[in-house]
Subunit: 301 residues, 2 copies
């Protein structure tokens, strides 16, 4: 579920994606229609396919906010939700068993099941988009955490000197310096200071334009990307010392920057990681926008 659309998928228990579709997210009235809309869409799909409810194992949900391991949401700002018991509500709405977790957590589970971390059961997923999301899997299971905040990697402190507030209310969060928005902030700050002529002086700044200039050898873009990679690589090295994953997976819109992105993150990761973890591979996510629906399905199974 996102602030604009809810992505839906119908899966076989073997993990085949039989069909996918989207519905609009109706965030009016504190998002009171979202679950009923999902339930209706699922009922229609089952009717259309001639599938009986008894054949369905359950419904998996990925929520943009902290969720505990009883599928209770504490708060999901983007879809205007307060506390919500998803198991209870889905049972009432559609009579099926529901399972839920944070969106980055289910994406991590999806990447483990059918994506970049296939064949592993210990991983860290970091998604680099407007924000920085995180999902942690240990022995095949999501780390939910005792307040549903397991894997909230985007809000770990990365820059003690930061003066602007993060959306979360703290200052210096990883998200402020290592998301698509964050790298643009770093570039703007650098451009405001004295500098040699750079490709970044022209056109609109974006994570893409910065990485494009970086790949073309622009010196200022290089400085900005190295700084971004220092923040992200050192943060990943710290997370790695906590759960010691087999693989670290990079997802989200910024992952389109490809191998040069992985290379520069790895440079700083290796510098700071504990000896036993220095060779942990950093790989790309593979499922793109489908990671969430795969993971939500896996959550049920």
């Amino acid at each position: 579920m996102g602030g604009t659309t809810v992505k839906c998928g119908l899966f076989s228990t073997k993990g085949d994606l039989l069909e996918k579709w989207e519905i609009k997210t109706d965030i009016s009235d504190n998002g009171v229609n979202i679950l009923p809309d999902i339930a209706k869409s699922l009922e229609n799909k089952l009717k259309e396919k001639g599938i009986a409810k008894e054949e369905i194992e359950g419904v998996g949900l990925g929520v943009p906010g902290p969720v505990d391991d009883n599928a209770v949401v504490a708060k999901a700002v983007n879809i205007h939700w307060g506390r919500k018991d998803l198991k209870q509500e889905m049972r009432d709405l559609i009579g099926l068993e529901a399972y839920a977790s944070n969106d980055a957590n289910v994406a991590a589970l999806g990447e483990m099941w059918m994506g970049g971390a296939k064949g592993h059961e210990n991983l860290i997923l970091v998604t680099l988009g407007t924000g920085v999301g995180g999902g942690i899997i240990v022995k095949g299971k999501i780390i939910f955490g005792s307040h549903g905040a397991g894997g909230e990697l985007g809000h770990t402190m990365a820059e003690p000197e930061e003066e602007e507030l993060c959306n979360c209310g703290n200052k210096g969060c990883l998200e402020q310096v290592a998301s698509a928005t964050g790298i643009v902030r770093l570039a703007k700050k650098r451009l405001a200071k004295e500098h040699e002529k750079s490709k970044l002086d022209e056109g609109e700044l974006s994570a893409k334009s910065i990485f494009d200039a970086y790949k073309e050898g622009d010196a200022l873009a290089e400085e900005v990307v190295e700084k971004f990679a220092y923040y992200l690589g050192s943060a990943l090295s710290r997370f790695s010392s906590v759960t010691d994953p087999e693989v670290i997976v990079i997802g989200g819109g910024m992952s389109k920057a490809g191998q040069p992105l992985l290379d520069v993150i790895e440079k700083y990761y290796k510098k700071y990681a504990f000896s036993s973890c220095k060779d942990t591979p950093i790989v790309m996510a593979k499922l793109g926008n489908d990671a969430g629906i795969y993971g939500a399905a896996r959550l049920v199974l």
Copy 2:
């Protein structure tokens, strides 16, 4: 097991410590005698008590080094071990099932079972001694990690400007600034610069003398303790965003500094922690040197 002694305990399956004793650690010949010495001591204890081997559930071991969840040690520098399969060796030596983990991990398990984190099953233990040790428990189980490096919190990067090497080969590790040795380093660095008269100018510097001066309101000691607490509190806030524990437990020799230590760590923890985790309690370990034997026993059960 430590570099000087092996602490041993005989436990009932309910968790009663029936007897404890110590034997010397023989680190000669790459520590080849350590396990046979332990086996012999256990055999003698059983004989003395008139307990048959069939009544014993197993042997739990805490090792000063990374251990995977098959009880295979990668390396344990302090006791001169290379790779060692503890399950196999103990089976050959004494015919009992053995279980093992890193010493800080078993201490965390002990504190969960019978100590400062009793009643919880999600916790982070940090021990502040000569080094900084870490143990992470999620849903009652140790996070071993895929290279036995789960919870290696002492070697996460805390100070990017650090110039001296840590024992681990990296620079800027938490252990270099937030252990008993680390806070003495911070104090020495500060004393080398211009400063007002301080209690720390006289006598030998130690974590104890620094905290004593801090409690007496010495301005320089305060500056040093605040810096130490910034490093430790911000590090704990990051670990907290990974596994989102119910409680954070502080152990090791430095914990003797008591409530003022907890208060100053909490100040920085609260500043940087993600909103859902800001109220996670930071408490003292309770089992002292016995945490390891309790946790090793729990590992078996």
